[in-house]
Symmetry: C2
Subunit: 456 residues, 2 copies
C-alpha cells in the first residue's frame, strides 16, 4: 500500500474495538513468578489477597491460563468516551528526520487524566462497584494515577480516597485540584488519619513523605474500613491485562492497513503501558506466529532492567506489600530527584521481568536531557506536548529511525505515546534554562541497595 | 435513526473534511461595518492595513463577497494532525440530567494548544510564511492564543515574538514554558524593548501590564521591524473565516447521520469560536434554507451583547488600533478580576454584532459560580475537564436540556467545547474552596465607560 493512502490518524470504528482483554500470561511458557506472602514466603492465595483487593481483580491477578477476558459492557461504554485512541503516522517527524523509516505512535493522552492510566482505573472502579463496595483507596506520587482513578470513581459513584505524597501535594496543586473536581478526597501523606502516618509524623515531623509511606496509609485505610479496598495503577498482572486494550487497538489499526511493524517501543516504569502495548505482539512471538523487536526504555537514573537484578523484592519501600520476583534495584533504592515521573519505580512488572529474562525483549536506558531534547523535537513537528515518561520512548524511536537512515532501511517503528506533559512544565522549564542534570547512579550505589534484598 | 446507532464520537474521514473555509459575510444582507481609520474616520483600505497585517490576510479581512475560500494544502496538512475534531454525543450528560434532549458537543481541545485558537494560528502563520516574512508578533493574556501561534510558527519555521501581559507572565509560568518549548520568544509586557513599553514603565514602574499595552508593543515591533507583521487571534473577520472549519465539520458530521439541530450554543468573548461554530448554520438561516436558535453565552462580568451598546469603539485599551463597530462596553471598561479568561474582552466581532443587531441570534449572560458548577458536573460525567470559557456554553446547554425535560421536548442541542482547563486550575481551586465571587458590573459602571466612546 502506498504511503499516502495511510491517513495521519488511524481510528477504529466502534465495532472494531476489542471486546476482550488479552491475558499474555496464558501464552507464556515460563509463567511470571507468583507474589509471595512476606511472612511465610508462600505464594499469596486468593484468601490472602481478598482483604486488600476486589474479588474479581484477585481472580484476574492469579489467572495465568485464560487467554481472553471479556470486557464488561459498562467498561466498554466508558472506553467509548475516549477510545479508540488514535494510532498516528508521524509523517512530520519522518520528514524532519529525513528517514526512510515509517513511524507510528499510539496516543493515549487524549483524555482528561492525560495518560493511559484510565484504562485500568475504570476497570478497577467497575469491579469495586460490582462487588458492592463503598469506595477505594490508593496512593499517588505525581498524580497521574490518582487523577485517572478519581475520574473512574466519579463515573461509578464510588468514594475515592487518595493519599498523595506530601511534597507532591504541595508542589503539584493542579493535579490535586483535578482530583477534587472529580470528587476525590486527597490527603497529604504522611497524615494523622492512620496509625502508620501518625507514627512516621512522630518520628520525622518535617518529612515530605514517600510513595512507600503513602501505600502503607492507603492499604491501612482499605483493610480497616468496611466496604473499602485498595487499588494500584501499575506493576500488577491485572493492570497489564486491562492495558492490553492499547496493544489490541494498535494491532487492529495496523492490520486494517496491512502494516507489520519491525519494532515496538515503550517506556517502562512499573510496566503498565509497555505490558499493554506489546501484549498481542508478544503473544504472536510466544506462539511462534511472528517476530518483532520489542524494546523497553527506562531512565538512566532508575535502570531496573539494564542494571538491576532478577530477584524477589518488596514492592514498596514500607515493606508492607507481598514480595514480587522482578528486575529490581532494591526497594531501598532512591532515584535522584529527576523528572522521569512514573518511571522512578525501583522494580518492574513480574510478567515483563520474566519475558526479559527469557530474552524475548530488549531494554535500553536513556539520559534525561536527551529525553527532553527528543520531547521538544517531537512537540515542534508533531504538535503534541509529550509527558516526560512517554518521551523516553520518543527518544529511542528517533534513534532507531536515524539508524534506518544511516543504513537505508525502511523499517516500521511503533511506539507508545502514553500521555501529555501539561503538568510537567516545571521540568520543561528546567530543561530550557539549562538546569537539568543527568544523574546516573554508581555501581556501588546499586550494589548497596541490592544488599538489602530479602534473603530466604 | 435510533439513538443507539449514533456513536459516542462522530469522526469524519479525511476525505469528508472541508477543503474551503466559509465566508459568512458573503450571505449577509447587512454586511458588518468596516474598520475605520482612527485619525480620518474613513474605512481602512488595503494600503492602510498592509504595514500591520499580511497581504493575504488583509484580502480576507476586507472580502465581504467570496463565499468559499480555498484552504491551502499546507494548512490542510497541518489540520490533519489534530482535525477533524470529534463531535461527541453527550450520552452520559443526557442520562445524568434525565433529559429527553439530545446533546452534542464539538470538542476543540484535543491539541496541545488546548483550544480552537490553532485553527486560525496555522492559517495566519502560513500566509506570513508565503509572503516571505521572517516572523510575526502578537500579544497574549492568559496564553491560549500565544501557545497556538507558537506551535504554528514552529511548524513553518517562523520567528514568533509574544508580548505576554506581565502579571500573566509571572503567574502563569506553565503557559510561558509551552511557548518556549515551541521556540517562541516570550517577553513580559510592558518591556524595555519598545518606545511604548519604556514610556509606560517610566510612568508606572510597578505595573503588571495590560492587554492594551501588550497589543501596542506587538504592533510597534511588527511595523518597525523589516520582515515582521502583527497577528491577532479573535475579533477580526479573517479569524472567523478560519474558524468556520469548526462549523463546517460539525455540520458535515450531523448531516452524515441525518441530524438537524434545534439550537447551537457557543461562548462569546471576541467571537472567534462562536463565529466559526455557527457559520454554516447561520448561512442556511440567512439564505432562508433552515432555521436554528443560535445562542451566544457571555460572562455576567463582561456582558457586551446583553448590556453593551452597538457603536464604533477602539479595539484596544491603548487606542492604537482601528475603530470597529461592535457591541461594546467601552474600551475603558475593566472587567473584574475573574476567571472567564478569553471572554473578558470589552467588545465583540463586528460580524457577530451585526447578526445580533439584525435579530438573527440570541445572547445570554451567566454567573461565574454557575459556570464552574456546570463545568464540574460536565467533567464528572463526560470525562473532559473543560476550560472556563467553554463552560459558559456548557452551562446554557444544561439549562436548555433541563427546560426540555420540564416541557417533555426532544430537542437537539449542539454546543462548542472550545478547550481544556489544564491551565485554569487556580480558578477551579478557588471554586472548590468557596472563594469565587460573582461580580456583576453596575449600570453606572457601564454607563461611565460608554461615555468614553469615540465621538464623531
Amino acid at each position: 500500500m502506498s504511503q499516502k493512502e495511510i491517513p495521519y490518524k488511524i481510528y477504529l470504528e466502534e465495532n472494531e474495538t476489542p471486546t476482550a482483554w488479552y491475558n499474555l500470561r496464558a501464552d507464556m511458557k515460563n509463567k511470571p513468578a507468583p507474589l509471595l506472602n512476606p511472612a511465610t514466603h508462600e505464594p499469596m492465595s486468593k484468601e490472602d489477597l481478598a482483604p486488600v483487593f476486589c474479588e474479581e481483580l484477585v481472580n484476574q491477578e492469579l489467572d495465568n491460563t485464560t487467554r481472553l477476558i471479556h470486557i464488561p459492557k459498562e467498561i466498554r461504554d466508558f472506553y467509548k468516551m475516549y477510545r479508540p485512541s488514535p494510532l498516528v503516522r508521524a509523517y512530520c517527524l519522518e520528514e524532519k528526520l529525513q528517514t526512510p523509516a515509517k513511524i507510528y505512535y499510539k496516543f493515549e493522552g487524549n483524555n482528561t487524566s492525560g495518560s493511559h492510566k484510565l484504562n485500568s482505573a475504570i476497570a478497577q472502579a467497575y469491579y469495586a462497584k460490582k462487588q458492592g463496595l463503598k469506595g477505594v483507596t490508593t496512593e499517588t506520587g505525581a498524580g497521574q494515577w490518582g487523577t485517572a482513578l478519581s475520574m473512574a470513581c466519579s463515573y461509578f459513584g464510588l468514594d475515592c480516597k487518595v493519599f498523595m505524597v506530601k511534597v507532591s501535594y504541595e508542589q503539584k496543586p493542579f493535579r490535586r485540584e483535578v482530583m477534587r473536581t472529580y470528587g476525590a478526597s486527597v490527603t497529604p501523606s504522611p497524615s494523622n488519619e492512620t496509625n502508620v502516618g501518625r507514627k512516621i509524623l512522630e518520628e520525622f515531623p518535617g518529612t515530605g513523605g514517600s510513595l512507600g509511606c503513602a501505600i502503607s496509609e492507603a492499604v491501612e485505610v482499605a483493610v480497616s474500613t468496611p466496604g473499602y479496598r485498595y487499588v494500584l495503577g501499575s506493576v500488577l498482572n491485572q493492570v497489564l491485562l486491562h492495558q492490553s486494550v492499547i496493544g489490541l487497538e494498535t494491532k487492529a489499526a495496523l492490520d486494517k492497513y496491512g502494516i507489520k511493524p519491525d519494532m515496538i517501543i515503550g517506556c517502562a516504569g512499573g510496566g503498565s503501558n509497555l505490558g499493554g502495548l506489546i501484549a498481542p505482539f508478544m503473544g504472536e512471538k510466544l506462539r511462534g506466529e511472528a517476530d518483532y523487536r520489542i524494546i523497553a526504555v527506562e531512565p538512566a537514573s532508575c535502570p531496573s532492567f539494564t542494571r538491576g537484578t532478577y530477584a524477589y523484592d518488596f514492592c514498596d519501600t514500607g515493606m508492607v506489600c507481598p514480595l514480587a520476583k522482578m528486575y529490581t534495584l532494591g526497594s531501598s533504592f532512591m532515584p535522584a530527584p529527576n523528572h522521569a515521573g512514573g518511571l522512578r519505580y525501583h522494580g518492574m512488572s513480574s510478567t515483563l521481568s520474566q519475558l526479559y529474562d527469557d530474552g524475548l525483549m530488549e531494554a535500553v536506558s536513556v539520559k534525561q536531557t536527551d529525553v527532553f531534547a527528543a520531547a521538544e523535537q517531537f512537540a515542534r513537528v508533531e504538535g503534541i506536548l509529550p509527558a516526560p515518561e512517554s518521551s523516553h520512548a520518543i527518544k529511542v524511536a528517533i534513534d532507531e529511525a536515524l539508524r534506518c537512515k544511516e543504513n537505508g532501511e525502511e523499517k516500521t517503528i511503533v511506539f507508545g505515546l502514553t500521555g501529555t506533559g501539561y503538568f510537567d512544565l516545571v521540568a520543561y522549564q528546567k530543561f530550557h534554562d539549562g538546569q537539568m542534570d543527568d544523574y546516573i547512579p554508581s555501581d556501588e550505589e546499586i550494589a548497596e541497595s541490592l544488599k538489602k534484598l530479602p534473603q530466604f
